[in-house]
Symmetry: C2
Subunit: 102 residues, 2 copies
């Protein structure tokens, strides 16, 4: 009988991406860098506190990067890293599965 | 600015699949129906209690089905439904992403 190795990477990825709002935040950044207020406009039900928390998690996981432009007033944008952009295909597949079956 | 609908289906799918052991259990069933003890052999670190819990969740979500064969002794096997088998591609994509980036 075949043996499977436990794959903590796989589970960690699903755990992160399964958190409430995370999928939507990533999807809204797939169309380009956004400011905090842009995301709030795109996802009106998402509170500022929750968005800040999600941004922090995604930054810690190297999925987004926070860019500060030294203008007046200062402009801060969040954008997907290469690692973050590379999630598109996997997210599409889960989305399609969820739509087909639920 | 584009607006996104909250997609609870997507998040529910990720939440279910991100649970500890769930991915491995599904992957081990992708090669065919298995008995409880087969899965325990394939995933030695998974306790019987936890496996029973995961099987129950997956059954409730229509991802696996429990089949009872009226033999002596009775044979009970767990197998993926069509909905469950259809997860293969999505799971592969997440797996590949996780391997590329972590």
């Amino acid at each position: 009988m075949e043996k499977f190795q436990m794959c903590p990477k796989f589970e960690a990825a699903f755990e992160l991406l399964g958190k409430r709002w995370t999928g939507l935040i990533i999807r809204s950044l797939l169309t380009g860098a956004k400011r905090f207020s842009d995301i709030q406009e795109i996802i009106p039900n998402l509170s500022a506190r929750m968005l800040a928390e999600r941004f922090k998690e995604l930054e810690e996981h190297g999925i987004i990067v926070r860019k500060v432009y030294p203008e007046i007033p200062v402009r801060i944008e969040y954008e997907l890293t290469e690692k973050g952009k590379d999630l598109e295909k996997a997210m599409d597949e889960i989305q399609k599965w969820a739509e087909r079956w639920t």
